[in-house]
């Protein structure tokens, strides 16, 4: 985000006065940040643009609650808001589809086989296939577990950053990550048990 050239304070004042141009500028400025978060934590049945819009609607409705603090840019507040919105959407996704080996694309299945079996060499596939494989496993976790693993492993955030983004204490983040990894291993074992024999 080009924060240097963009005057957030002035823009927020404009949005509070219901200035349409300021609102448009704010949305366009924050869109890349919001979309990056939304894409990482998107429920299966929701379009990314819809969820991004939901984040912005929350942003407008809670703008009065935002207080500027030295050393904490506005973007941090937005990131937290976006993460919380995604978590709520993941929680609302009551029924998660159950996938089987036969439902997976060839490249995804290759990665999954590598993860749950004794194959020594990682498959040479696209990064997108690797990401899809992780998504398959992450979707089987609880929303909070999925969120913490995504932030730690895929986005390589520190525990402190995860704590700031989620509003959870540092201890809670550690405990959730530990439990999530344990569940992930169980899920991996379940896939291994159902693996097709070749």
């Amino acid at each position: 985000l080009n924060t240097a050239a963009f005057d957030v304070k002035k823009c927020l004042e404009g949005v509070r006065r219901q200035d349409t141009a300021a609102a448009h500028a704010l949305v366009e400025h924050l869109y890349p940040l919001v979309l990056r978060i939304v894409r990482s934590h998107l429920p299966r049945r929701l379009a990314e643009e819809d969820l991004a819009q939901e984040v912005f609607l929350k942003l407008f409705s809670r703008l009065e609650q935002y207080r500027e603090r030295p050393g904490t840019p506005f973007e941090h507040w937005v990131s937290r808001l976006a993460v919380r919105t995604c978590l709520d959407s993941l929680r609302a996704e009551r029924r998660r589809p159950e996938l089987r080996w036969g439902d997976l694309a060839e490249e995804t299945a290759a990665w999954l086989k590598y993860m749950v079996s004794a194959a020594d060499v990682a498959p040479h596939t696209s990064a997108a296939a690797a990401r899809e494989t992780l998504e398959v496993l992450l979707r089987q976790l609880r929303p909070a577990d999925r969120l913490v693993i995504t932030l730690l492993d895929l986005e390589e955030r520190s525990l402190k950053e995860v704590s700031q983004m989620t509003g959870w204490s540092l201890t809670l983040v550690k405990v959730r990550a530990f439990r999530a990894r344990r569940r992930l291993r169980k899920i991996g074992h379940a896939w291994k048990d159902e693996a097709p024999h070749e």
Partner: protein, 96 residues
């Protein structure tokens, strides 16, 4: 770190290479979002007004019912105690 965790991290490292390019804002996204927000805030004001009006209507109906009941009971009591005016007049007229 056990075998699964190690392989998970290998897969995550590969997945992180799936970097999306710059994200352009979809055409009209800002306009749609702002319009939805302003529409929603107007709608919420209307909803508040409707809810308050409905409550005021219920309250007014209750007050009217209470007043009507009180009036009816007072009127009944008055009728029992007060003699009819025409009878009094007729009686007085008859004695003259």
């Amino acid at each position: 770190m056990n075998e699964f965790d190690h392989r998970w991290q290998t897969c995550a490292a590969r997945a992180r290479q799936d970097v999306a390019g710059p994200v352009p804002v979809p055409v009209g996204f800002a306009t749609r979002t702002w319009a939805r927000w302003t529409g929603r805030s107007h709608a919420s004001l209307t909803a508040v007004w409707t809810a308050l009006s409905f409550r005021a209507l219920i309250l007014a109906t209750l007050v009217l019912v209470v007043l009507a009941t009180a009036e009816f009971s007072t009127a009944s009591a008055d009728n029992a105690l007060t003699p009819h005016l025409e009878d009094v007049v007729a009686n007085v007229w008859g004695t003259l």
